[in-house]
Symmetry: C2
Subunit: 279 residues, 2 copies
């Protein structure tokens, strides 16, 4: 369950990104993230733990500094003991936003899971600090994290590996590099295991900005694929043998491009406003 | 529009196969096809035109003969003039079933389109002859044929190339090698161009047997992905620029594995009967 805030301020944005966000051109996702984080007053802490490459955090420091934030700090934590250190908690406490880089989501969850840093991330978000993550950093955001699974369009009985995530939100399951790695089958598998959650598949260079009311807006050049199992009439997931194809009847599907929104609570997709016709 | 029959007998089965059907083991798709075609009294004509490989037709002759049909004949037609020859029409006229092999669906449509052979295939099916096809041979079956398009999960403004097909059925659009070649984006693109048709994505080694009432049953080891745009609330397909991601709100999605059925007329998926629990 998401943490309850103590400060009385509304929850911060939750911003999963599908990976490979634009870093050289318009950078619409990074710009929007900086804007919600406070613009010139943004203090962004980068957690590069998903990757074993030391340079990854520094890359994002440069990116955020280039967008004129007040400060951008990389906070490497390579062992669980790092996530217990007071000095690291003190760095996090000053952030207006936290960004989790890509890499391996199981590295993120095994190093941070259950530590004071993970608890603080939940509390900070509840108290109004915005938390984003790309690729593995997006996958770990929800309560139930997709840790692995084969690619392909068809859900299978063993089509997805789930693990506990950071738990900032429990109503959606996130998959990333969605179109690029052909992951609709494993997202369908995840949603059909227990249809209480909505599946959100994020293409590369595509983010959803989830506001305090759990309404999100799509930003970026790809699509967010929403699988809503509310009216699932039938699933053979319980009786299928490993590797066997599964029948799923009655799913709702939306594909949302930039500007489209989705209300996670009411499970309603909202079309983008029409651009005025260009003559 | 599908042809109207002249004999008063019900329409034959229409059997699109997703490609790479099992040919060595149980061969469930081929066996079922032979059974509906008359079993030991089946006279099957194979049209290998989609492929430039002479051997392709002969391969299916062996496959069908191995399943103990009365006759299996390959009818090579490599030029349009072949599809005007009386001797070829006479071979087709004796068939209880016709099978179109895989290859390139544009080769099929450019050689057969508008010829007496194409007209005869439509009339034969209307009069009770069963027509199946695999891969390219499946794609060409409907009125609107998917001729090409990029792979990936996200529909794009230029995400699919449509061409006129054989026109045996006009209520569905078929894509094949569905899971294996990651084609949900182009099927979504096809369906959203004009939401009157249902999209059916067939995995390899997976067929739908469409009966005279336009109810189909899934046979094989993969899934049939059904995209039903009946309740499409919003599509940005009309205003999207080439390559741009498209928003589609309110699609229905079913994934159907072996034994599940779908009523194309009422747009209703029907769950397979539960197997008795194995203790």
């Amino acid at each position: 369950m998401p943490s309850r805030g103590t400060s009385g301020s509304p929850r911060g944005y939750i911003v999963p990104v599908g990976g490979a966000e634009n870093k050289d051109g318009d950078r619409p996702i990074m710009r929007r993230f900086v804007r919600i984080a406070g613009g010139e007053e943004a203090r962004i802490v980068i957690i590069p733990t998903a990757s074993e490459l030391e340079v990854k955090g520094e890359r994002y420091v440069e990116l955020f500094e280039d967008l004129m934030v007040e400060s951008a700090i990389s906070l490497p934590m390579d062992e669980r003991s790092d996530a217990f250190l007071d000095k690291n908690l003190r760095v996090l406490e000053r952030a207006t936003a936290v960004f989790l880089t890509g890499g391996n989501q199981l590295r993120l969850s095994t190093i941070l899971g259950g530590t004071p840093v993970a608890q603080m991330l939940r509390r900070l978000n509840a108290d109004g600090v915005h938390i984003g993550g790309t690729s593995a950093g997006a996958a770990i955001i929800p309560e139930h994290m997709i840790a692995g699974g084969p690619s392909g369009a068809t859900p299978r009985a063993d089509g997805v590996i789930l693990a506990p995530g950071l738990g900032l939100i429990n109503r959606i399951v996130i998959d990333q590099h969605f179109r690029q790695r052909d992951r609709i089958g494993r997202l369908l598998s995840a949603v059909s295991l227990n249809p209480f959650a909505i599946g959100v598949g994020l293409d590369e260079d595509t983010a959803v900005f989830i506001n305090r009311d759990n309404v999100f807006e799509v930003v970026g050049s790809g699509g967010a694929t929403v699988i809503d199992p509310t009216n699932l009439d039938y699933s053979s997931m319980d009786s299928a043998r490993p590797g066997q194809a599964v029948s799923l009847i009655g799913l709702k599907l939306h594909v949302l491009a930039e500007g489209a929104r989705y209300d996670i609570e009411s499970r309603t997709a909202i079309a983008p406003e029409r651009e005025p016709a260009k003559v």
